[in-house]
Amino acid sequence: MSRVEVSAKTVDEAVRSAIAQLGISEAEAEIEIVDEGAKGLFGIGGKDAKVIVTKKSAGQDAAEMARAFIEELIDRMDLVCIADVEEKEDVINVTVSGKGVGGIIGRRGETLDAVQYLTNLYVNKGKHGDGYKRVLIDSENYRAKREETLVRLANSMAAKALKYRREMKFEPMSAYERRVIHSALQSHGGVTTKSIGEEPYRKIVVSPK
């Protein structure tokens, strides 16, 4: 159920009851007042207030939440950047551009990952599986470039593993970066890859077949 029509003595009361019926928070509610109602005299001729409350579509809402959060965060971090938000199905893509992008990327994308993680938590707060949105934040094509670098690194490590006929260990990487390496070498005929160790020091080992 995402839409209810409720009548009550006052608009406030009707809205509260509608929100309770939908089981949503006030922030998620789109309220349309159909009739403001009238008090009447001595209980005679009074008219109930009527409202229609709709649950804001999760999609739009999430993209808007992401934008608001990131913009405020950037502002409070004292960075001069703009955030562009684009939504595709369950993924919200945010592109940050401007003078301050170096600050938001950080060393090896550390800050970018942190901002992305916090935005995901904020946007999906209180959601359990249903309507979960993934927020991806990029800046100056950092992620695409980093991916290229990782693929190049993967290939050169694979070549070394073959040349010396032994295991080669990568540096510890995030799950996302490891996935890039695994899939880059998946179709490689001569080597296999696996991850060893515990987060956050989990790393890839590439070994000759």
Partner: protein, 79 residues
């Protein structure tokens, strides 16, 4: 500078918890460090710490990035 960092921390924490009204940040400066103490409702501790401190780590990264020009060390304590 002083209030900017604590306000940033407060904003991030409030965005994550169930009870934003119970979020507070106190700041103490000494010669070498700025210490930001974050307090949240008891039930919200997990929301700002996360599994294996993952959320706390992300919060610290963001605060440190915002304080890049600050020569002092920034310490974020969750108490």
């Amino acid at each position: 500078m002083e209030s900017r960092l604590s306000k940033l921390l407060e904003f991030v924490a409030k965005s994550l918890v169930e009870k934003p009204d119970e979020v507070s940040v106190t700041q103490t400066d000494n010669d070498t460090a700025i210490v930001l103490e974050l307090r949240v409702a008891e039930g919200d501790m997990g929301k700002v710490i996360g599994k294996q401190g993952k959320i706390a780590k992300a919060i610290r990264v963001v605060i440190r990035a915002a304080a890049a020009k600050e020569p002092k060390k920034i310490i974020v304590d969750i108490v």
